[in-house]
Each structure stands twice: as structure tokens, then as C-alpha cells.
Symmetry: C2
Subunit: 391 residues, 2 copies
């Protein structure tokens, strides 16, 4: 019997109505003979409202207490989902991160999974139950409650699939899968049925929100095959797996896979000093991009971090030399694009045709930074040129 | 240094504003040198709204999953209180029932505390921290999350004070203490500075909501001295302790202590059968009173249980012979009142002066049952007669 880990994000369990719908669907899967482990996030908005409560009390909440607070969120969603499954007549049991045996380091707010002692999960699966596991949370060896930080539930699901040696890891979300570009921006964007780990990681790092980069990295490192599907249609979406397993993938051939974007970025220029470098290092997970230019540092960051970041600069006495708002990034994803000089020449000429546009490259992506109001037309142009007619 | 357990109920931590106020006050206590363990309930309304979510999904929720769901409530209140204390500059740490070492049996929804392994609490107290413990919850030896049922947080606090060998157990609530009658009903009701365990237990069982009967029983059995105080004024209220320690208490003398009431009760008469007796036994914690009359059973129950109770009767195929709404109970609390025949004669004559009024007695109380709209005047009469001029 196939063992399948299925993860449902906050928007998929955002209301009692949605929870009941998912439970009915899972009851079908269960009756078809699947062995199922569910990983769930907190209901959409729960985490935000808990955050808001904490910030009414303090500007710099203790990370340890924030972990205690936020982990209440998954308790609520997972027990409600379990009640809904029981109501469908399906035996079910929910477990906290601690009860699931998700052991992490003690880094509150951004813990790393060290191992999964999944014996209680196996016990309950053997009793033919659907087991529901709280995503995003774990327990340290000192018995402290931890959270995994951004993308935590995706990572929980992948780790769970890895340690349970599951046949599949399905991530249910509010989109149908991974597309060649954001379908809201490019109406003729295509669903990508299969994508390699490295390309998916580059996409995630460049702004695609389908799967968190950390979860992709974990899947890549442990060879966990991940399927992204819509929690509304349950249809097959995109499978993320080893590039060598992708059919029709022509090795050694440069291939443009998709376009990712970040709609809004801020750029700060600050003087390079021991203090500023130390501070920037502490912020590395939140920053979109860092570049060193002579004796100053340019950092790109999303506007949601604006006030916290500026407050941190102030506390560390780091002066802002320049601040630029209203930028956006557009990335063309594909392996070794930069070594294709003909392509790079074309991209440079496209870059020049947009005002205030700059271009940089990495192993897996070529990135344009330009005024935010220009990103949509650049994406349309790139998609037309490199992704429209393929396949 | 005095070690004090302080318990705050849901209405005391019902908003961020109240939490900050309590934290400021506790910071003073801490700076005066108190060693403090806080026991907190879920914020008022949190539990109700979690219940409502569950009942949108299922009429008969699994008790195990309800425990998982409801324990989210204390996580939220205790971590917010901890953040507020830290913001006040007071070192503080919050612990779940499990982390606090509150070991219970496995009876979900109504677990009993078996022991408290408080070593983590002692460790943190030794580091001069205020330790915040989730009330109402514990963990079974099978590592399942449990709740203690009604009055659970009061019981948590008393058990904590017992196992920590605390110097005092202070229960903060939304009233100033225990009064000779409900001050909203009897304006000249007096605050009772000291009351014995047995009288307090009788009061709690007869409808006083200041302290849950289970917590009183626990305190009595383990000799824990409990102080009830207002969480708004923090002033000294009522101390509950061994009757022999109460000054000026005249032994062997009949004394009327206070009046308690239940404003609304329903009475059901059902046929006595094996099924109905078994069902009633399962409901014993929720019932106000049971009496056996020839071959039928009369049970009194509060209206909030009406629909669940009737549904249970229906499921167990127990027929309702008679149902009477709009009743109330008024109890005169004091030891061995019934053996004072002169008093009983007076009470019988008072009973007769009210329509449809009946009277029964136990070791610690004399109870009147009468139409609900008559309870206020009966309370006023009894208070005038037996409690007004005393002291």
C-alpha cells in the first residue's frame, strides 16, 4: 500500500468549510487504500493575528515565547481537520511536532530539523489511521518548542516523507503547480509537469512562492520526489525531482525553464564597516540580494521588512547612504544560461531597451532589476521570446 | 524568599490591555522579592470560539482531539503574558502542561492530576525567572495531551502550590473574594476574610463560582491554603484554609456562613431503568442534583446542557416523563445546620411562605428549590435573617 505524505498550507485549511471539503476528499483517498500522513499549517490569518497580538505587547518579542505562541496555530487547524475526518468516518489522530518526533536544534524561530523519530506515526499508521502532523514546529533535545521559520511546513512535509520513506510527498496549495511564468501576469503561461531540483530552487529563490527554497533544498539533498497540486482541484500539477529522471530532458543543452519575479523591492546603500557587515550577515535570510560596490554595500529587501530593517540599521548605528523604492526583479531560470553568449547578448539588448534596468547572473538564473512598473512588460517580452512556443 | 503560585483566569487575561496591566503589577511583586509561579487560563472567549469551530464540524467531537484543540488557548495567553513580563524587564519563561511536568491520567476532557514533576520549574525559579504554567492542561504517561475539565486551571494552581510546597496560592479573579451572598443580589453582603475548606466546598457545589469545587477539594485534601483576590485591585480577599486555623471560629457551634444560588435550573423526571441509571451516572459531573422518587429519577441540570442532555436521553432511549423549566436553587451554607431543629423549623416556615418551594438538606447546606423568579427575594430574606447583623 502506498504511503503518501500530503501537506496542506494555511489557505487550504483557512475555514471550517475548506477543512470539511478537504476531509471529504481525503476520505476518498483513504478508502482507495492510501496510507496517509497529513502535514498542516495554521489556518490562514491565525499566524498573522497571533503576531499582531505579540506586537501590541512588545516590539522585539522573545523568539522562544513567539514559538510558544505561534505553535498554537497548527494545534487548532490539525485538531479541526482530525475532527472533520472522524466525522467522515475515517479513523484519524493529530500529533504536535513533539509527538511526531520532529527533533530540531534549539534555534527558536528558525530551527533546523535534526531527525524524525517517527515511531508513534508508524504505530498509528499500522492501526489504519490517517495521521495528522503539525507542520512548522518541532521540539529541541532540551524539550523546548521550536518553529522552523519561513517555509517551515513545506520543510516538515519533505522531512516527514524522507524519514517515513514515503512513496510520494504531495504539497497542496492554492495554485495548480509551477508555471513558466505567473499566470496572472502572462495569460499563456504553461504548467510545467516536471522540473528538476536545481531549477526549482532557482525559481523559489527568485520569487516563485509555490514551494519554499528551504523545502526544495531538503528534497534535493535527500532525493525526495515532491508533487505540487491544487487543494481545490486535487489534479496532478508539477513533480519536482532529480533532473536526470526527467523524461525528454536533453542533457548539456541550455534550456530556459521559467520566469520568476519579485514585484516590489527596496534597495539600500550603506557604508561597508565591521558593524554593517555583521548586521547584514544576521539578516541574510530576509535579504533578496547583496552586492558589494567599492566601499559600500547594496542590499535588496522586500518592503514588508522595511521598518524592522531600518530599525536594525539605526540600532547598529549603520547610516543609510541611499535608499531606492519601487524596484522589481525578473529572473529567467535555467541551468548555465550565462555561458550561452548568444543568449546573454540578446538579454543585454533587452535590458537596454528598459529604463534603469540592470542585469546580473548566477549558475541557474539571469536576473533583471528594474522599476517595478516595468516588470510586467519585461516578463511578457521574455516569455514571448523564450518560453511561448516551446513544446 | 516566599514562593507564591498566582493563578489568573480567562477574564483576567482577556485582552492585551489586561495582560500588560497584570504584567506591570507582577513586575512589582517580583522586585519586592517574591518567587512567582503563574498559572494562566486561556483568554476569555478563546475557548468558546474554539468550541464553536469544532461544533461547526461535528456534534460529537472526539475528546482527544478537543484536548488538542483547546490547549492552544493557554499557549496564546501564557506566551503573551511572558512577552509582557519580558517587556517589563522581568525574566520570564512559559511552560506547557507537559513541560511543567503535570502528569495526568489519560481521561481526555476530564483528566485527573496524578503528580507534578516540577524539576524544570525549579530550575527556572533558581535562575530568578517568573515561571508561567499553562493551567487546565497536562500530559498522560502515554504522552497524550489532556485537559482537566471544568475548573481545571484552579486545580492546576492548587496542585502546583502543593507540589512546589509554595508559601501561598493566590487565585486572581473578577470578584473581590467570597461574600455572604452574591453582592449583585444582596447589596449589603459582606466579604468573608477567612473560610474553612468544607464550607467553601459546600458553597462551590451550591453555585458560588469563585472557586471550582474540584480545586477546593484538592486544596482540602492536601492542606493548601488558597487566597482569592481581585485581579483588578490585587487587594486581599478571602483565605480558604483549615477550619481549625480560623481565628474566632467557635467549635461545635452551628454557624451560617453564606448563601449560594443557581439562578436557572431545569428538572427532568425520567423512568428508573438500567439504561437511564447508567446514562445518569455518566452525566453526574454536569448534574446539579439527582433524587430518586419511587420508580422515577428527578435530575436538576443547568439550561446550558439542555440540548446535549436531551440528545443523550434520546440516544439512550430514555423517555422524559416530565420536564419543568424556570427553577432556581438557594442554599444556606454552614456545618450541621440540619441538626439545629429550631433553625430547621424556621427554614421550613420560610419555605412554606414561597410558592412551589421545596427544601432538602445535606451535612453542609440546606437547599431550597423554587421558581427562578422567587430566588432573589428568598436570598434577601435569608440574608436579612441570618447573615446581616453578624460580626
Amino acid at each position: 500500500m502506498a504511503l503518501i505524505v500530503k501537506k496542506f498550507g494555511g489557505s487550504s485549511v483557512g475555514s471550517v468549510e475548506l477543512i470539511r471539503r478537504i476531509a471529504a476528499r481525503l476520505a476518498d483517498d483513504y478508502r482507495r487504500g492510501e496510507k496517509i500522513v497529513l502535514v498542516v499549517s495554521a489556518m490562514a490569518k491565525t499566524t498573522d493575528s497571533l503576531f499582531a497580538l505579540a506586537h501590541q505587547i512588545t516590539r522585539f518579542p522573545s523568539r522562544r515565547e513567539m514559538d510558544m505562541l505561534l505553535t498554537a496555530g497548527e494545534r487548532i487547524s490539525m485538531s479541526l481537520l482530525s475532527l472533520a475526518l472522524l466525522e467522515e468516518g475515517v479513523p484519524s489522530i493529530s500529533f504536535t511536532g513533539s509527538q511526531s518526533g520532529i527533533i530540531t536544534d534549539g534555534n527558536h524561530g528558525n530551527a533546523r530539523i535534526e531527525k524524525v523519530n517517527a515511531f508513534r506515526i508508524h504505530e498509528e499508521l499500522d492501526k489504519d489511521k490517517i495521521v495528522i502532523v503539525a507542520g512548522f514546529q518541532g521540539v529541541s533535545t532540551a524539550k523546548e518548542i521550536t518553529t522552523l521559520g519561513r517555509g517551515g511546513s513545506d520543510t516538515s512535509a519533505v522531512a516527514m516523507a524522507c524519514y517515513l520513506n514515503a512513496d510520494s510527498c504531495e504539497i497542496y496549495t492554492d495554485v495548480d503547480g509551477v508555471f513558466t511564468a505567473d499566470p496572472r501576469v502572462v495569460p499563456d503561461a504553461r504548467l510545467i509537469p516536471e522540473i528538476g531540483y536545481k531549477d526549482m530552487l532557482a525559481l523559489a529563490l527568485s520569487g516563485s512562492k509555490v514551494l519554499h527554497p528551504r523545502a526544495v533544498e531538503y528534497a534535493m539533498r535527500h532525493g525526495v520526489r515532491v508533487e505540487v497540486r491544487s487543494s481545490f482541484t486535487f489534479r496532478e500539477g508539477t513533480t519536482i525531482k532529480d533532473e536526470y529522471d526527467i523524461k525528454d530532458k536533453i542533457m548539456e543543452k541550455r534550456e530556459i525553464i521559467a520566469i520568476a519575479q519579485k514585484a516590489q523591492l527596496l534597495r539600500y546603500r550603506i557604508a561597508a564597516s565591521q558593524e554593517s557587515i555583521a548586521m547584514i550577515a544576521a539578516w541574510v535570510d530576509e535579504l533578496h540580494k547583496i552586492s558589494y560596490i567599492e566601499d559600500s554595500i547594496e542590499v535588496y529587501i522586500e518592503p514588508k521588512y522595511e521598518s524592522d530593517f531600518e530599525y536594525a540599521l539605526e540600532r547598529n548605528k549603520v547610516k543609510i547612504l541611499d535608499k531606492c523604492e519601487g524596484l522589481g526583479s525578473v529572473s529567467l531560470i535555467g541551468d548555465a544560461l550565462a555561458s550561452d553568449l548568444k543568449l546573454m547578448a540578446e538579454l543585454l539588448s533587452i535590458c537596454k531597451s528598459f529604463p534603469h534596468c540592470s542585469l546580473s547572473q548566477s549558475q541557474t538564473a539571469v536576473e533583471f532589476i528594474l522599476p517595478a512598473d516595468q516588470t510586467v512588460s519585461l516578463i511578457a517580452k521574455l516569455h514571448d521570446e523564450y518560453l511561448k512556443d516551446k513544446q
